[in-house]
Symmetry: C2
Subunit: 102 residues, 2 copies
């Protein structure tokens, strides 16, 4: 069962993410990041790879794409806030973006 991140987990797993460009949403318990790519094909290619992981983990992002930019928000609707699933997906998105830009 997925649970809200504990205070300890927020220190150990959320804080490192906040150093890689993720920000806390000011309106709700969620994290956001804007990813920029070379062009649309690159951006959507990354989304496609991310979508496969999201579906595999049954945990889906809220995301907005315009051309080469993708704004992502992660939260866990089932628990009404951030859970370990969000941390896991955020890390995967960063990894995939690093590969996409490599």
């Amino acid at each position: 069962m997925t649970e809200l991140l504990s205070d300890t987990a927020r220190k150990t797993t959320l804080e490192p993410l906040l150093k890689t460009g993720w920000k806390l949403d000011s309106n709700r318990d969620a994290i956001k990041k804007t990813f920029k790519f070379k062009d649309f094909a690159d951006a959507f290619g990354w989304m496609t790879r991310a979508a496969i992981w999201a579906e595999k983990w049954n945990h889906h992002p809220e995301w907005f794409n315009v051309y080469k930019t993708v704004e992502v928000t992660l939260t866990t609707h089932d628990v009404g806030g951030l859970s370990t699933l969000d941390v896991k997906l955020a890390r995967k998105l960063d990894t995939l973006a690093g590969e996409a830009r490599a």
Copy 2:
């Protein structure tokens, strides 16, 4: 060269779209529609097919996806408003959504 839709074209090509669920954006010369699918895989599958057409035509949507919902906005940044490219892409998105739901 892409141009803004003429008044005549708005009558003949835009009005029919407004009957299929597209709406004029109240803030700028753009059209919007919310597409709902069975689940995420269905929604993202549709986005992937749409992305290929968008790239082929070099005309890209602004779109926001959460799970099985995709909110699309179309406008032509180069001309600062709606052009024939938006009508063409809107029709394609409708067609692809029809096939996806079939």
